[in-house]
């Protein structure tokens, strides 16, 4: 139960833009155990999906430089050729994308798409039809025989996402990467899909990397949370600890910006500015501090330790600013330090 299925150490990713290498991820270290859900949270542009794509080996090798180490069940993934990666992609690592409509082939029946995912890796897979139907039943589809004969456009968004999950599960992966799996879905369907992901986690004993920007989804599903900003992890903790005792200014700002966490009379905390462009990311500093208008330049520009500081049991924070950080106005409701 406690073995690490995914272990990444100091993973950096740079993209070649106009001939120059620009860093999108800077020394990320995360690990996922079997049966654990690790949530990556952050704004768009924070590097969540870049990390997922490095694990799946989906970056264009000529335009991207990936350094560090990512091991899956002890096997190093960085530096593998396309063909070597094929042994992992879709077999030992399954992926669920945000938009099921654009990731399913509109011209292929659901049953065929699922069996394709199996046959690609094992040409002589026995009892293919039975396997497909079992997978569809596993993801809570009530009439698998009929659905297998249908095309993607005939299914609702929630059903399509279930089919995507069935495909991700088709080869009994050790790790499932779910990139914003419920963002495009209605609340009731979102709840069903999250419950399904939880169920799979227990039943299949796979590790799950859940990428999301929705704090509610994190609180409902994750075991461990890594908060990302500008290509770095700024805080990492067990889910209860993170919500009960957030430290980094970014985590605290996000919690105060969430309408479900603030009563209607109060003003939401609006984080000013935007995530910096890749070329402006100086990773020797705590980049989020630029977006807090009342901090002095000394604090914002201070060079910080590369390592995250251990502040509790399995709780890590970047930089020093969190030690003195206060919001300007009122005290944080329910999160006062």
């Amino acid at each position: 139960m406690n073995e690490k299925i995914l272990d990444s150490k100091n993973v950096s990713v740079s993209f070649r833009i106009n001939g120059e290498l620009q860093t999108a991820l800077h020394k990320i270290s995360v690990s996922i155990k079997r049966g654990e859900v690790l949530a990556l949270v952050g704004e768009s542009g924070s590097g969540k999906s870049t990390l997922a794509m490095s694990i799946m080996g989906l970056h264009n090798a000529e335009q991207t430089e990936v350094t560090g180490s990512i091991t899956l069940d002890g096997h190093e993934l960085i530096g593998l050729t396309e063909r070597q990666f094929d042994q992992y992609r879709g077999v030992r690592v399954g992926m669920i994308f945000q938009d099921p409509l654009s990731s399913l082939n509109p011209l292929m029946k659901i049953g065929e798409q699922i069996s394709e995912a199996i046959v690609v890796h094992d040409k002589n897979a026995p009892n293919l039809k039975g396997h497909v139907q079992r997978l569809l039943t596993d993801v809570g589809i009530i009439n698998p025989k009929r659905v297998a004969q249908q095309y993607p456009h005939e299914l609702s968004g929630g059903m399509r996402q279930r089919v995507m999950i069935a495909i991700a599960l088709s080869n009994e992966p050790d790790l499932i990467i779910a990139d914003e799996p419920t963002t495009a879905l209605d609340a009731t369907i979102q709840a069903q899909i999250l419950d399904l992901i939880k169920e799979i986690q227990l039943k299949k004993n796979a590790g799950i990397l859940l990428i999301t920007h929705d704090l509610g989804v994190v609180a409902e599903t994750a075991d461990t949370v890594a908060v990302m900003y500008a290509g770095q992890i700024v805080e990492q903790a067990d889910v209860e600890e993170l919500f009960a005792n957030p430290k980094h200014p970014y985590t605290r700002s996000l919690l105060r910006a969430d309408p479900s966490n603030v009563s209607p009379g109060e003003e939401l905390y609006a984080i000013s500015g935007t995530v910096p462009a890749l070329k402006d990311m100086d990773h020797s500093k705590d980049l989020f501090l630029q977006r807090i208008p009342w901090l002095s330049d000394d604090v914002v520009n201070a060079t910080i330790d590369e390592e995250l500081e251990v502040v509790g049991d399995n709780h890590f924070v970047r930089g020093n600013a969190w030690k003195t950080f206060e919001f300007l106005d009122v005290t944080e409701k329910g999160h006062a330090k």
Partner: protein, 329 residues
Amino acid sequence: MSELVKIENLKVYYPIKSGFFDRVTDNVKAVDDVSLTIETGKTYGLVGESGSGKTTIGKVLVGLENPTSGKISFEGQVVTTIKQKKAINYNKDVQMIFQDSQSSLNPRKTIGDIISEPLRSFGVPGKIGAGYDGQRSFEQDKINARVLELLDIVGLPARTVTQYPFQFSGGQRQRIGVARALATNPKLIVADEPVSALDLSVQAQVLNFMKKIQRDYNISFLFISHDLGVVRYMTDNIAIMHNGRFVEIGTTEDIFDNAKHIFTKRLLSAIPSLDVKKREENRAERKRVEREFVQYKNDYYQQIGSYMRAYDLESISETHFVAIKKGEN
């Protein structure tokens, strides 16, 4: 509180044509007999799943579509059809903010052109603030000045005027959409999922900003959303929609603290909670509500083929109405 908009028995049907002569054989009832009232300076929330008809109501209200039947009145004037709306220059008073800021801003026009377009159509109001009905000016100087003023209100620099939509981030583009909606001094803004494409940090900026312009200019909103967390934060009154019908309407407190309809309960139980300790409890609650939904749906819906039609609304308090079979309760 004064009524700004009153929608009575609104129906929007889309015909299904089939057969040799393309005869109308059936209708899709996108909106099926709904009534609502929006008060001046208040926010009315329209909540439901995709396909429930929320956006259709918004489109009819703004005048992008004609209703099949029903009556809409705006400050006492009947403005049911697009023709009636045009006749009174209705759209200077009623504007819209769209979900997708990318596709609702013309990529070939500068921001200055985009924001000044409604001003060229309806003129620059002499005074800012909802409710001003006096002289409007069409002078180019006035229009330019108003554009700059609007950009300032939404917190964008003056140089924005000559830039194009692609040069902005999603949150900035959404604020440009808000500036355009504000340009003519509207009394009502229909906001269709205005923040669902935005990050949390930017979402907070836009929501705060909408609340601010409501306070400053006494604007009413029809706020269409499927995100109940946002709806609770933003609205005064809420209608819950399902299959083109209202299943429950009430004040925000009525809905969130005292939900009666099984569909509302189901929606509420699906909201992810930030309270990690309660998540097992929430999951059990969701399962329970789901069972209840299956068990009792006949008390709340008429089954017509595979279609579930909600009953008519019954009053349970002065503000709170629920669609339930007569004789229950």
